[in-house]
Structure formats: structure tokens, C-alpha cells
Symmetry: C2
Subunit: 155 residues, 2 copies
């Protein structure tokens, strides 16, 4: 698993597309066991006034209705550590691996995924982290809303 994987590249492109749209710059991509992209997407909180379309949820939604067998051996690439909802979505569909761009900005369900037998890879990608730093510096209130947290008092 590396930054050269087509799945990671697609997730990063989705994050950049989100940034271009003025949205929260997190992207994701679901790749099946044979390397085929099943779906990809980015966080749509601001674009669609959505409380649930995180990058991974958008990706699963865009992949469409699939039988359980389609997720077997699949990898969810995401530019940021998945929140508890997105972690739960990966567990529901039993994806085999979660590859994240980084978890310095936010740590979601990394440990729960590992406990449940999902392989977790952190690429520690500076570009993913940079996209988030810029967004959070500019729009802290939108970011904290997205992770269900109260804005920090210093901001």
C-alpha cells in the first residue's frame, strides 16, 4: 500500500476537488480485491448541507448497492483517518483494509478497526495534512461541526 496506488491517487484527487468546491477537503475511494475502483467521493457537508456525506459515506453511496461479496477483500482509501460513522460503515460492509492519508489532523476509529481485524495503513501524507490545515485555519466552525465537536475556545 503506497501513495502510488490508484485508489489513493483517486482519493487525493477527490479531496482536492472538495477543496476547489470550497468544501471540507477529504476524499475517499473504494477498491475491490482485484484493484477495480468500485466508487469514489468526497465530503459534501458544505456543498449539499449534509450531516452524513463524509468522504467514505459518499464513496459507498456512489459505489451503489452491492452484495456483501463485492466488499470482500476491498480497500477503503481515505485521505484522513475515518470518523466513527465511517469506521462503522467500513465494519458494516467488512472491507478488509483501510488506507488513510494521515491521522495527525484527527484520529477516528483506527484502533476499533484494528480490534475488529481490519488492516490499517497510515501513509502519513503531507499533502493530505496540508489540505486539512488550510481548511481548518480558514473555517474552524465547519470542521468542528463535521466531527461533532464544539469549536475550540481559542479559535
Amino acid at each position: 500500500m503506497s501513495e502510488h496506488d490508484a485508489g489513493f491517487k483517486a482519493a487525493l484527487e477527490e479531496a482536492k476537488q472538495g477543496a476547489k468546491e470550497g468544501g471540507i477537503p477529504i476524499g475517499a475511494c473504494l477498491v475491490d480485491k482485484d484493484g477495480k475502483i468500485l466508487g469514489q467521493g468526497h465530503n459534501m457537508r458544505l456543498q449539499k448541507d449534509s450531516a452524513t456525506l463524509h468522504a467514505e459515506i459518499s464513496t459507498l453511496e456512489n459505489a451503489g448497492r452491492l452484495p456483501a461479496s463485492a466488499y470482500k477483500g476491498a480497500t477503503m482509501y481515505t485521505t484522513l483517518s475515518p470518523c466513527q460513522m465511517c469506521t462503522g460503515a467500513c465494519l458494516l460492509y467488512k472491507v478488509s483494509r483501510v488506507v488513510m492519508g494521515e491521522n495527525n489532523t484527527f484520529v477516528g476509529g483506527d484502533e476499533l478497526l484494528k480490534q475488529r481485524g481490519v488492516e490499517v495503513v497510515n501513509l502519513k501524507n503531507a499533502e493530505c495534512e496540508g489540505l486539512m490545515k488550510k481548511f481548518i485555519d480558514d473555517h474552524p466552525e465547519d470542521w468542528y461541526e463535521d466531527i461533532g465537536d464544539a469549536p475550540k475556545k481559542s479559535q
Copy 2:
């Protein structure tokens, strides 16, 4: 917490509406700490070809973008034990309580919710269970797809 709560009644009405539409008959309703309904919805897998619009996700989506404070002390009513994705969504937004109609049909994240300090109430409601039994008897493949499982061989 009882079957007479407005939140539970609304969730059950949503499940029945789902059944009328030919969908998976699971409904949910989010109620804030003061008893105000923030949103409600039902499973839309079949109606919208959606892989993510479970009842609780539909409900959070229909409630719209809210600050973290809005979910404080809130109760998620759902006619069926929430799957791992919906459990994660409740944890993300830190709802205080999950009231389920039943968990005989399916056990989702009941234990994880309790471990994370969420109050969990099971109303053991026969009507909720009856709606699911009829649906699963008629459409087992749609049900197993919804919970990311392979259909049982006997079906």
C-alpha cells in the same frame, strides 16, 4: 423511555411508511434533550438504490447540519438495533441515548454503544419485529445486502 414516546411513535410510523413503499421497514427519529424532534426518516436502500441511507442515517441527514450542541442529550429512536455504521453515527454526534424497538431480528452495536457511555434501551416491541419478519421472509436477499451479509444458504 417507552412505546408511548413521541420519538418512538414517529420512528414506527417511518418504518410503516417504508413498508408501504416496498422498502426495508426500519424507521428512526432523533429527539433533542427538550423533546423536540430534530429529524426522522426510514431506510431508503430500495427506494433510492442507496447503500448508506439506513433509517438512522436518513434521520441525521433529514435533521440537517447542526452544531455539536444540538445533539447533546439527544435520543435516537430506531425500530431496530442500529448496525455498526449507524452506531458509529450516533457515537460521532454523541447522542446520549439509543432507544430501539427490538434486537431479535438483528443485533448491531448495542454493546459498543454501552461501552462508550451511551444509554441503550430495548423496547422489545412486537410490531417492529413483525414488520421485519414479513420483509425478510419476502425479500431475504435485500435484507442481507443491507447488513453486508451473504444470504443464508437455506433461503
